[in-house]
C-alpha cells in the first residue's frame, strides 16, 4: 500500500474505522482497485477535491442500478480508474441469515472489491467497487442467488421498511410484506427508469416513522389506527407505582400535543377524538398503551430533499386505509399507479411529486387521481382569496 498519512489519522479512536477496514481488505486481497481507491481518497483529503465522474453501465435488460464512477485522475492514479457501485435490493426489514450474507460476501469478493455499504440511505446494499466488464457476470451470479438490482435514475427507487411486526409492538400493519409486494409490482419501473424523476416509497409501521419516510419519500406509508388507543389500566397503575405521579404528569400528560390526556382515578384518561396519533404516550408507556385495533396506514406524499424548492416534508393525503390483506395492498398499488401516472403526465423534468402537487395545485392533484379533499390534509384552510370556482 502507498502511504496515506491523512487517512491513517482516521484509524485511531473508538469508533470502528472504515480506513482500517479498507486497508486490511486491500492487504489481504491485494486488489489493485482498493489500493487505487485509497490513494485517490488520500489525494482528495490532501487537495480537498473529489475526482470521480459518472458514466453509464448497466446489465442486460436493465437501465439502472449501477452507479458508475470513472476517475478524473486516472493518469496519476490508474489503479482505480473505474469504481462502480452495484445497488442491491435488501430484504425488507433488513433481517439476514448469516448464510445469506456470507454468500453475498463471497460473490462480491469474487467479482468486486469486497467493500459493501450496509446500507445506503435509500436502503440498498451497496456493493462498491467493480469494473464495468465484470458487472454482468457479478449480477448474474447474484441474481441466481435471489438478489436483484435496486433503483437509480428517473424511476422507482428501492424501498425501505422498518422492523415493524418483526420486532416492534407499535406496528400497525405488516411493513415487510407490503414492502416486498409493492416493490415486486414496481420492479420494472426500478430497472427501467422512464419517468420525470425518481420516485421513492418507504414503509414505517407507525408515526414514529423509523424510516424517516415523511421527509424522504414521495409516498410515505405510515402505520395508523382509527379507533381508540388500547389501555391496560392495571399496567398504567403499575407504571405510576414505579415511576411516580410527577413523571406521569411531566412526561406523559403535559407532553401530549393536543392535551388529550387527563388524570383520572390515579391513572389517565384519553380523549381519543382529540388524539392526533403522535405516538408519544404509547412510546413512554408501551406496556400500558397500544395502538387501537382498527389498524391500517396513512399515506403522506411529496417528501424529498432540497432540489429545487427547498426541503419538502410529505403531507397527509390519505389519513386512513385498511392494510390487512393482499387486496388492500393491491388497492394501494392501484392508487400509487394512478398517482405516478398523474405525476408523469403533469410533472416537469426533474420535478418530484411534491413539487408537481405544489405547482399544479392540490385540488387539481386530488381531482386527477380521484381522491376526496379532506381537512386532514391541511393545517388550516387557505388564507388568501386566490381561488377560482364556479357555482
Amino acid at each position: 500500500l502507498n502511504p496515506t498519512p491523512m487517512l491513517d489519522e482516521l484509524e485511531s479512536g473508538p469508533w470502528p474505522s472504515f480506513v482500517t477496514g479498507l486497508k486490511e481488505l486491500a492487504e489481504r486481497t491485494k486488489k489493485p482497485m482498493l489500493r487505487g481507491v485509497m490513494d485517490q481518497l488520500e489525494y482528495s483529503y490532501q487537495t480537498r477535491m473529489g475526482y470521480w465522474k459518472g458514466g453509464l453501465v448497466t446489465v442486460k435488460g436493465y437501465g439502472a442500478g449501477i452507479i458508475t464512477r470513472y476517475s478524473m485522475i486516472r493518469d496519476k492514479l490508474p489503479e482505480a480508474s473505474e469504481f462502480h457501485t452495484m445497488r442491491i435490493q435488501a430484504p425488507p426489514g433488513l433481517h439476514y441469515k448469516t448464510d445469506t450474507l456470507r454468500e453475498l460476501c463471497d460473490i462480491w469478493e469474487k467479482h468486486g472489491t469486497g467493500l459493501i455499504a450496509l446500507h445506503g440511505q435509500t436502503g440498498d446494499i451497496m456493493l462498491q467497487g467493480i469494473e464495468a466488464d465484470k458487472v454482468q457476470e457479478c449480477f448474474d451470479e447474484l441474481n441466481q442467488n435471489g438478489w436483484d438490482l435496486g433503483g437509480a435514475g428517473a424511476g422507482m427507487r428501492t424501498g425501505v421498511s422498518c422492523a415493524g411486526p418483526a420486532r416492534c409492538e407499535q406496528a400497525c400493519y405488516d411493513t415487510l410484506e407490503m414492502h416486498e409486494r409493492v416493490m415486486k409490482h414496481f420492479v420494472g419501473a426500478v430497472h427501467r427508469p422512464e419517468w420525470n424523476y425518481k420516485f421513492k416509497l418507504k414503509f414505517s409501521g407507525c408515526p414514529n416513522d423509523c424510516t424517516n419516510s415523511i421527509m424522504r419519500s414521495d409516498i410515505a406509508v405510515i402505520g395508523m389506527w382509527k379507533d381508540s388507543i388500547q389501555m391496560d389500566a392495571d399496567e398504567v397503575k403499575a407504571w405510576v407505582e414505579t415511576n411516580g405521579m410527577e413523571k406521569l404528569v411531566n412526561e406523559v400528560v403535559n407532553l401530549c400535543p393536543t392535551r388529550a390526556i387527563s388524570l383520572k382515578d390515579g391513572g389517565i384518561e384519553i380523549d381519543n377524538s382529540n388524539c392526533v396519533h403522535c405516538m408519544h404516550c404509547l412510546n413512554v408507556m408501551p406496556k400500558a398503551l397500544s395502538p387501537g385495533k382498527e389498524r391500517g396506514v396513512a399515506l403522506l406524499m411529496g417528501g424529498k430533499s432540497t432540489l429545487k424548492v427547498g426541503f419538502n416534508a410529505g403531507s397527509m393525503i390519505v389519513p386512513f386505509r385498511k392494510m390487512e390483506n393482499e387486496e388492500d395492498i393491491e388497492e394501494f398499488i392501484d392508487l400509487a399507479d394512478e398517482i405516478i401516472d398523474w405525476w408523469d403526465d403533469n410533472g416537469l423534468d426533474h420535478e418530484r411529486l411534491g413539487e408537481t402537487i405544489e405547482r399544479v395545485g392540490m385540488k387539481q392533484f386530488l381531482d386527477g387521481v380521484g381522491l376526496e379533499p379532506s381537512i386532514d390534509m391541511v393545517t388550516k384552510p387557505r388564507d388568501n382569496p386566490y381561488f377560482k370556482t364556479k357555482y
Partner: protein
Amino acid sequence: MSSPERTWKTVESGPYPYKEGLHPVVKKNYGKWKYHEYPRPGVLKHVAESGDVLYTVRGGTPRQDSVDFIRVLCDVADTYADGYLRFTTRNNVEFLTPDEEKVQPLIDELESRGIPVGGTGKTISPIAHTQGWLHCDIPATDASGVVKALMDELIDGFRGMDFPNKVKIVTQCCELNCGGQGDIAIIVKHTRPPRINHENLSEICELPKVVARCPVAAIRPTVVNGKKSLVIDEEKCMYCGACFGACPSMEINHPEYSKFAIWVAGKNSNARSKPALMSLVAHGLPNNPPRWPEVGAVVKQILDAYRKGGRPWERLGEWVERIGWKQFFEETGLIFDEDMIDNYRHARTTFNQSAHVRF
C-alpha cells in the same frame, strides 16, 4: 437460451425475500409483540404476547464495511444469535437472541472486536452519512471521514442513554442532496459561484437541463468561442451547486470556497411535535480533513447545551421551541447573523409576524 453461456433467465425479483432472514422467535411472534424495555444501553428487550422474550444487542459499524468485517458479524451472530442478524435503518447492526444469558457475552465479544455497543434509547445514534470523496461525483467533502471523526468524539453519547431524547445527526457532502433531516446536520456550503469549464461544457453538457436545474434561474445560454455555452448571473447565483449535479462543467467545488454549516432542530418522527425542517445556526467552518475539529467543536457545544437544558423526551428542536431561539444562541454560544434569515420562496412564513419578543 439463445446463447450457450447463458443457461438461466434473469429473475426480476425485487427485494430479497424477507422471510428467510427472520429469527425463529421473530417468526413465531410476528405481529404479536407487546412491549419493549431498555435493560441497559445498547440492549432492547421485546416481550411478546406469548410471553416470549427477545433481546437485541446493537453495535456500531463504519457502514462502509469490508466483507471481512461482515464475516466477523456473521461469526458473532452464529455464536450468539442462532445465525441471524439485522441492520437498522441507521446502519447499526443488531443481534437478536431469546437467551438473556447470551447478552453480556455478546456485548463483550463485540466490544473486544472494536464494535461499540449502544445507540438505543435517549442516545446519539450513528450519524447518517453519504458517499463523499470515496464515491460520489459531486461531493465537496468526505462523508465517511466526517462521520468517523465525529463519532470518535461522540462515542460516550452513543454508549450512554442520558440525553433528553434520541439525537439523530446527519451529514451531507454536497449542499443539496442525500442527507435527511436531523437534530443536527453537518452540511457543506459553497461560497462562490461555479466557474464554468467552457471547454468541457460544449462537449458533454445538455444545456437546457442545466439551465432548468438552477433554483433561481441564474443560468443563461450564451456562445463562447463560437460554441454554445452557458453564463451565470453572479448577482442571482447563491452558490448552491445544483447545476454541478446536472453538469460537471459547472465547477462549484474548490478547497477554499467550500465551508461547513451546522443545522439543527430537524425531526422526522411525529412524536409530540410534527416533523420539522432544520435551521441554520453556524456556517463558515473550515472544510478541514481528516478530522474537521472545528465542526466537532460546534456540534459538541450544541449537544452540551441540549443535554443540560432539555427536559425528558424533548427532542433538540422541541427544546429550542420551548426556550426560544434567542436562548438557544445564548446557551450554545453561537452567533445569529443575517444569512440565517431566510430569503427563499417561503421566507415570509419564517418572519416573526408578531410583537412577540423576548428580552
